[in-house]
């Protein structure tokens, strides 16, 4: 079982030069070479499309090794055929199969590199076996949420938005109160908070002042 999205059709390899000849056989030869070097070095670099294609074959080989072990003749045949350097057959069954026994994810990972410049504009990629001894390609990010400044700022932000929401609610309340008062000209005897009434009065008076001042300016 392969644990990453796979293309339905195999990619076509143009200009693969592994030896004499070309065609489907040449493609397989190239893939064998790449899989061998991946198992050997555990991290390789190359053109992105070829790395992606190699990945599936390497995963399938490890899968077989985990499923059937080293006492299964067809699996052994497959390993012998796909690993050009024969000491790697031991590595496959004795090192990699136990390493990936408990994995719930794919055994390999691909990281895209930036396009080479100046050049053809092709993207390169790094293909690696997981659990290799090299340092991480993408460094682990440090947790910065609990630094003193960040705690201060997040708490201040929370306070700020709580205050904003409170003010908004007050405004909506006061608007409803104004509408009510216009419709029914009665004194406030309902359970309306004092603050909202005061606010209304202030707002009304200030608008009146503005109107008056406007008129005066026009008359002048």
């Amino acid at each position: 079982m392969i644990r990453f999205p796979l293309k339905s059709k195999p990619r076509k390899f143009k200009y693969v030069l592994t030896g004499c000849g070309s065609g489907p056989q040449e493609r397989v030869d190239f893939l064998k070479k790449m899989v061998t070097s991946l198992i050997r070095h555990e991290r390789i670099e190359g053109r992105a499309d070829k790395m992606h294609e190699t990945r599936a074959y390497a995963e399938q080989l490890i899968n077989l090794a985990i499923q059937h072990g080293d006492r299964h003749e067809p699996t052994m045949k497959m390993a012998d055929e796909w690993l050009l350097e024969k000491d790697l057959v031991h590595k496959l069954f004795k090192v990699l199969a136990p390493r990936y026994q408990q994995y719930a994810t794919a055994f390999t990972s691909v990281h895209l590199l930036p396009a080479e410049y100046p050049g053809q504009g092709r993207f390169k990629a790094v293909l690696e076996l997981k659990g290799n001894p090299y340092p991480d390609i993408i460094p682990r990010e440090r947790e910065t949420r609990y630094l003193l400044t960040n705690i201060l700022l997040s708490a201040a932000g929370r306070d700020f938005y709580a205050e904003q929401n409170r003010l908004q609610e007050l405004n909506t309340k006061s608007e409803t109160v104004v509408k009510d008062s216009q419709e029914v000209n009665t004194s406030y005897e309902n359970n309306v908070s004092e603050i909202s009434i005061k606010d209304n009065v202030k707002v009304a008076s200030s608008t009146d002042n503005f109107k008056e001042s406007d008129q005066t300016s026009v008359s002048k």
Partner: protein, 359 residues
């Protein structure tokens, strides 16, 4: 003739000095200024420290193992002296940057001051700094230090005619946005101007230049009481602290010539402070101590930077008088600074009246 006069003057001056020195340690010193009180406490502190050092007749070696930066095969192993060597000395042996950045240490898994001597048993040591992945311990130490430094700033920056009597610090977390100190001052209804607040802030912001160490010292009850005998408010808080802790020992800290009591670890050096801002002073009614001034302030460590806009935003929040009730560091019971009901006010009046009489 002239020589005789000079001699007379000198002798007189000497006599006065001598008589002053007699008063220096005595309890009869009533009208001392804040600076003189500070000096007296510091002298008592050194005296007590020397006495404790003289009690050690024989140096016992204690093996210390430190796992951490700079990495090597196995732990850094050191052979230090118990009751004399401190985590700071270990840091000096390992690397210079550890001495500069370390805020607190943990010894055998317990939080430990950088300048506090090791115990007798074998020790595993760790250092913590502000940029740790889990900085909860250094954050707490820094916040404790903030209120301690605020106390020193208040104590130092007023003129001699103003008697400043520090009471206690309310327990605040980093999330609350500021640390506080409650102080009694004989200025009625003081509302500080922006300039006065700035002056106070500058006093704290200048501390990093002096590179003062925070020296801890565990002392008995009698020594602590003798040290703070000029300050009835402090003695109250010390008493409640002793009642709560159920042991007759207190940890005092000294920074420069300022001595104060504090729970929990403090940071290593004032060079680890950078920004300091006294944001507001509010007047509060304390049920047990009458009207006090609550100073609110905010500080940042040297390792953490902040944009001025964000700093301003945080400072504006720290200036507000919060409606939350903070318990005092020394007392377990709750404290009501904003008691608005009439019954509470009456209670406060009664309490303040009785308190003033007692003093």
């Amino acid at each position: 003739m002239l020589a005789r006069k000079v001699c007379e003057l000198c002798s007189r001056h000497g006599r006065t000095l001598h008589s002053k020195r007699k008063d220096f340690y005595s309890s009869a010193s009533k009208k001392l200024t804040n600076a003189e009180i500070r000096k007296r406490r510091s002298a008592l502190f050194t005296e007590e420290k020397n006495r404790q050092i003289e009690l050690i007749k024989r140096l016992n070696k204690v093996p210390v193992s430190y796992y951490g930066h700079p990495e090597q095969d196995g732990p850094h192993k050191m052979l230090m002296n118990s009751h004399v060597s401190t985590p700071y000395h270990c840091a000096m042996h390992i690397d210079e940057y550890l001495t500069k950045r370390s805020i607190v240490a943990t010894v055998n898994g317990e939080p430990w001051d950088m300048h506090k001597p090791f115990p007798e048993n074998a020790v595993t040591l760790e250092f913590h700094h502000m940029l740790d992945e889990d900085p909860s311990l250094p954050n707490q130490a820094f916040w404790n230090t903030g209120s301690f430094v605020l106390g020193s700033v208040i104590d130092k920056s007023f003129k001699d005619n103003v008697l400043v009597q520090l009471y206690d610090t309310p327990k605040t977390k980093v999330e609350d946005g500021c640390f506080m100190y409650d102080v009694f001052m004989d200025i009625p209804d003081w509302k500080p101007s922006q300039m006065e607040l700035q002056c106070l802030s500058r006093e704290g912001g200048r501390l990093w230049i002096h590179e003062l160490e925070f020296e801890p010292l565990t002392v008995g009850e009698d020594v602590a009481m003798k040290m703070f005998e000029d300050n009835p408010y402090k003695i109250k808080s010390l008493n409640s602290m002793l009642n709560e802790s159920e042991s007759d020992k207190l940890t005092l800290y000294r920074m420069g010539d300022y001595v104060d009591v504090s729970t929990g670890p403090l940071i290593s050096n004032t060079s680890q402070l950078s920004r300091f801002s006294v944001t507001a002073v509010h007047q509060i009614d304390c049920p047990t101590n009458g009207k006090l001034y609550r100073f609110q302030a905010l500080a940042l460590p040297r390792d953490l930077k902040m944009h001025w806009w964000a700093w301003d935003f945080v400072c504006r929040r720290a200036a507000k008088q919060s409606k939350k009730k903070y318990p005092y560091r020394s007392t377990p019971e709750n404290f009501f600074p904003n008691s608005e009901t009439d019954s509470d006010r009456e209670k406060v009046k009664k309490m303040t009246g009785s308190d003033l009489k007692n003093m």
